[in-house]
Symmetry: C2
Subunit: 338 residues, 2 copies
DNA sequence: CTGAAAGCGCTTACAG
DNA sequence: CTGAAAGCGCTTACAG
């Protein structure tokens, strides 16, 4: 494997000139740069990663801690993992994957061995063991999600409260006064994941502010459970004219199937919004108005903030990404009572 | 951050003794070892990762190339990614995640910069660009999956052909002579992923060898498409008494729903086997006999083979993991024709 | 059982 | 615009 000495010899310069030419950290005569580039090309030279880490001030690796539990919804989880990896690569960073059985010890290990420059934290729980470890380590870190105590932390996330309020306001604008919410399974809330309660609470408080009647159900992902959830909503809210879905793709699909099966038309008989889903919602029949959870939005910003921290300390903060609304025609004025 | 020199000073020994004490590569007097361990503890010493990479012969990092496409089934993909990460950690290896937009260039980058000791390849296509790059690089690599041309490669995978044959033989043992197969969506086969055709072809050839009548359908994941697939199977195979499912969880769930809805009892009216699924199948009603795709099996073995290769070249090979059968009572003798 | 020293391949002040 | 050299923090022959 060619080293920087080989390149220097072939190009007829010193190794420091090669290093500076490649890093761009000082100006190099055009002719010199050309000879160096030719030598690099000819030898297939790539700087040794270990030597760079040791001599330089950074490793160009971020740790990604993304615990995966029984309740984790794989497609959304995957979308965030990939979005982090892609955002990192855009800044010449690689991503080291840490698993849940090493959640806190893995952070200690990679940070104190200087294997990584910083940490991106996914799947944040309200009470999250990783918070304490990261405070203690002092390593640059960004949370994608919001723990209960954000003291001293840098956090980025979709504004789930605002997303819920946006759903409510779109529906009230159309005249709806009785709105149901289908959330995740009870296990997801019990697990302590940070965003489902944020959406739920945002939903209830926005609805209360508007004086709107609400009902809430948390089905499991099987058909019978979804059917029961819909029954429950109609029972507690007989005049329900609109429905907000904040749940997995399979559950949303099941809801649409069941509505169709019962002859309930969307939006004529029921207006429906899909909120904070990380999957496409335009293949539903009909396509649903959606407030998307765009993994790339939060992850791109998280990587930027991590890189800022590598350069030097920044002020702790909680950055909320404003929700967007994609209109597809699944909202209509409420039908007269049947 | 404490260095090996600090440890040596506190313990009153040379740095080489510290290094050997920690690596266990030569015997150390009990009293010396104790002083060193105390110093390590007291200083919170962790060897610098970059220095180890540079001075040592290995980085203790594997690259994991796991491209993710529109057709990728996230839960299975995730299961394999995690299984690789866990298996790697069990051997003190970390995992660097490579994304699809850098599939081949990323391999070149991490291998020739000596950032990783080897490569684990997931989501292998029959014709896979990564095969050529890996042959050319000569870096230790293990494919989890089997490309068309395995010349010079080390591959591990579940024996999908044997799994299909096992499904057929269990059903023929019970007396079935007309067996349907519900496979993945056509896009999965078109994408060139290696295992779906292996299962399908194994199914057809085992059935042919037994003189069994077959039918095959490839639904999309929506309810209507699954319904149509079942209709198609019953139309082409009116005497169908058994069904093999080799498809996503949502599709398997939909099949069970539709059977129930049509009053078809499992196993009394139809025997069903779930084959090569990486998710649990015991929550179905009834629980299904299953030939599981156990991510940990292939991934553990893949990591072992990668580590062997780091120590020195090994013979190219294709290792097939034999399928297992989990009996749960969803097979019965065929019912008399209705 | 232990130590002194070379060397891994870079980066970056220091010097001109 | 360029070079000689120190140093990053380890591992590992070499020597005793």
């Amino acid at each position: 494997m060619a080293s920087i000495h080989d390149v220097a010899r072939v190009a007829g310069v010193s190794i420091s000139t090669v290093s500076y030419a490649l890093s761009g950290k000082r100006s190099i005569a055009e002719s010199t740069r050309l000879r160096i580039n030719n030598a690099v090309e000819q030898l297939g030279y790539r700087p040794n990663a270990g030597a760079r880490m040791l001599a330089g001030t950074r490793t160009n690796i971020f740790a990604l801690t993304a615990p995966f539990h029984a309740e984790t919804y794989a497609p959304a989880h995957m979308a965030f993992v990939l979005a982090v990896a892609q955002a990192a690569r855009a800044h010449d960073y690689d991503v080291l994957l840490l698993t849940q059985d090493e959640a806190t010890s893995g952070l200690r290990r990679v940070a104190s061995s200087r294997l990584v420059d910083g940490i991106i934290v996914l799947d944040v729980a309200a009470e999250d063991d990783r918070v304490g470890v990261i405070r203690e380590l002092g390593t640059p870190a960004v949370f994608i999600g919001i723990p209960r105590d954000t003291e001293g932390l840098v956090c980025v996330d979709l504004d789930f409260e605002a997303a819920a309020a946006l759903a409510i306001s779109r529906l009230t604008d159309a005249g709806h006064r009785s709105i149901g919410l289908i959330g995740h399974s009870p296990g997801v809330y019990a697990r302590g994941s940070n965003f489902p309660p944020r959406f739920r609470d945002g939903f209830f408080s926005a609805a209360a502010a508007e004086g709107v009647a609400t009902a809430f159900a948390m089905p499991e992902r099987d058909g019978p459970s979804v059917r029961a959830a819909l029954d429950e909503l109609y029972r507690t809210l007989p005049g329900m004219t609109a429905l907000v879905l904040h749940c997995e793709e399979a559950v949303q699909a099941a809801v649409m199937d069941i509505l169709r099966e019962r002859g309930l038309r969307v939006p004529e008989d029921l207006s429906v919004i899909s909120a904070c889903a990380s999957f496409e919602t335009d293949h539903f029949e009909p396509a649903l108005d959606t407030i998307p959870l765009v993994a790339a939005d939060s992850c791109t910003r998280a990587v930027e903030l991590a890189i800022e921290q590598v350069a030097g300390p920044i002020a702790p903060r909680v950055e909320l990404v404003p929700p967007r609304f994609l209109e597809r025609g699944s909202i209509a004025p409420p039908a007269p009572r049947r």
